[in-house]
Symmetry: C2
């Protein structure tokens, strides 16, 4: 880590905090944000924590035109003892740099940005909700800010980290969802940007999501963009299937986002001696497993829901009812263990927890 | 067209205009810009022309995170008589709405936005350069502005139109370029957003573009994302091949952007009784045509270059030298006719020209 300092400009007033029961994802933000700019030849510079506020940007800023941007998403959790925990944040920093590489954005100093995130979280720690299942969502993102509308990598960028308190994902207990297999639209394709966490992938997904919602489904299951046969992801989650006692998940293939939760689920299952197989999985094979009764569970994984059991999967004219539409044992065990580790209610044998504490207090 | 009014706030000062010889694409903007906002339930509202300036936006504005945005690109030309001409601008308005539909952005009133563009161009008409080959580039774009980081279509948008004087694309005469066929990265795929003019497609293209530039090529030729066999586009242009007296261009297939220049070239060729065939074209078939000597010309088409002849095409370990690396007759004829129509030097038999004049003067 290079020598960096973070300028601090504390907010003079504190915003009112929302009521815990009314927390909605991503609408309310804390008192401060972290900003850092990139230019040639300065590189990343001017790291600062300032009051959360709108910023001024030129209408020709490249990000508005050519979508050169990346982002991350992770959470801070309060333990019952009042400690603040992050879950594998270094994984998010690494993925941010992998996304940067794909999008031709200059790399960040991972250790420094993680340090900055911890300072920001500690400064706004009163915003971390404490009720069961609540947390503070952390959104780092980088946009291209050069005022130039030529199609080329920008020479100027801005990294911003904002924080948003979020309510419990499952207010009435973990609950299986209805998913539709998407046959027309694709999220991305091998050789595209699917491995990267970049806006365009999400923009591309909106239409299919909107159409499936109208039909009463929660999310779509994305098939590969080449043959439209192989399973990729579920909405903005990775996906797993338990078949005949073994757990399968699509192998990383260049178009699937490598989820931190996916990686943690794989490690946890291996720790439990449950066989995990990463391979290409076709809808046809999954359907056969369903027909012969060996498809036992299906679930999505991601930072937001942790584990999202799939109770029904609709594919063309077929409906697969999985585990009688109920949450399966593996899904529940994974959910419980992961959340207990995240919230510091269970020992973390994997070194996944990163503590935010006094050491991250702003000195000024 | 509904009843709309445009508020005008004229710039108190006029910026200095760049020297015509030093005009670079997309770096300098005129004195004014057009803005219009969308919200629920107001719809599109608050249409206004204001001094060109940065604007303030929340860091949680959706466009920064999920890339829900679209844009257009067209030009205004001065004729030798001092008339101001647009070239088929209604096509750009139609395409903007097609892009909107794919990106779940509410449609615009095409006639009204075109009207607003004409007012803006007329107000800043002193910025339209008059030297040979120069023009005023018009960039309408829409970004999603709702301060919310959930993955869903935004409920708030901003449409902005900015203007930038551009120099001649070919300073030393029309000149063939070296193109590399891209085998690893893809721009988009069927079921994706390729048909739409949206940021993510351009973000996805940067990496391949950067790698090919390093190897001395001007642009990449994109193959289809499914089989990596069929020709799609060249950089940000559509592509044509003259083979045995006939002109071929990839048929619109859901992943190719429908260029206004492409459409105009097809009409012009038909007008000249040159057979034009829109069909799926594989690199293999093109290579065979090259080997048997029937590949006569290749060129890209787009608003920026109009016609960009391809002198060399590199595919895997093969180099195709087309028309001895010189500009072919069809390429030159198309370039001359299209630019002569655009600049009002030749009669427009197609009704392509739309005049900007006194009627578009701001009344206030
Ligand atoms: C497309 C996509 N896939 C998968 C995931 C799951 O990744 P993680 O477990 O790191 O949250 C996410 C989001 O977070 C995502 O956006
Ligand atoms: C990807 C892409 N293809 C083709 C074109 C050509 O379209 P037009 O002729 O309308 O400029 C453009 C740009 O303008 C483009 O961005």
């Amino acid at each position: 880590m290079e020598e960096w300092t973070i300028e601090i400009n504390r907010s003079a007033t504190k915003k009112e905090k929302p009521n815990t029961d009314q927390l909605e994802f991503g609408r309310v933000f804390t008192d401060h944000m972290f900003i850092m700019d990139y230019s040639v030849p300065l590189g990343w510079h001017d790291a600062r924590i300032i009051p959360y506020q709108p910023f001024s940007i030129d209408p020709s800023a490249m990000t508005f035109h050519y979508g050169q941007s990346v982002f991350e998403g992770l959470k801070a959790y309060y333990t019952p003892e009042g400690n603040i925990q992050l879950f594998r944040p270094e994984k998010n920093m690494q993925r941010l740099n992998r996304s940067n590489d794909r999008l031709c954005i200059p790399p960040i100093d991972e250790a420094f940005v993680l340090q900055a995130i911890k300072q920001l979280v500690y400064l706004d720690k009163d915003w971390i909700p404490t009720a069961e299942g609540t947390s503070l969502y952390i959104r780092p993102f980088i946009i291209s800010t050069e005022p130039f509308i030529g199609v080329a990598p920008s020479h100027q960028y801005r990294l911003i980290v904002i924080l948003s308190p979020v309510g419990a994902y499952y207010k009435e207990g973990i609950n299986p969802v209805k998913i539709a297999v998407e046959n027309q639209y694709v999220r991305t394709v091998k050789g595209g940007t699917g491995e990267a966490k970049t806006g365009g992938n999400y923009a591309a997904s909106l239409k299919a999501q909107e159409l499936c919602s109208q039909k009463g489904f929660t999310q779509v299951l994305w098939l590969d963009g080449v043959e439209k046969k192989y399973i990729e992801e579920v909405g903005s989650m990775n996906v797993f299937f338990k078949i005949n006692g073994k757990v399968y998940t699509p192998a990383l293939n260049g178009s699937i986002l490598e989820g931190v939760t996916r990686n943690s689920v794989i490690q946890l299952l291996q720790h439990w001696n449950v066989p995990v197989i990463e391979e290409r999985i076709s809808m046809e094979v999954l359907y056969q497993a369903y027909l012969d009764g060996s498809l036992e569970e299906a679930f999505g994984t991601g930072t937001a829901a942790v584990i999202s059991p799939i109770g029904q999967l609709s594919w063309e004219d077929k409906d697969l009812y999985i585990n009688d539409g109920k949450t399966g044992k593996i899904s529940r065990d994974l959910y419980n263990t992961l959340t207990r580790i995240q919230y510091g209610k269970e020992k973390d044998p994997f070194g996944w927890i990163d503590i935010v504490n006094e050491a991250n207090a702003v000195k000024q």
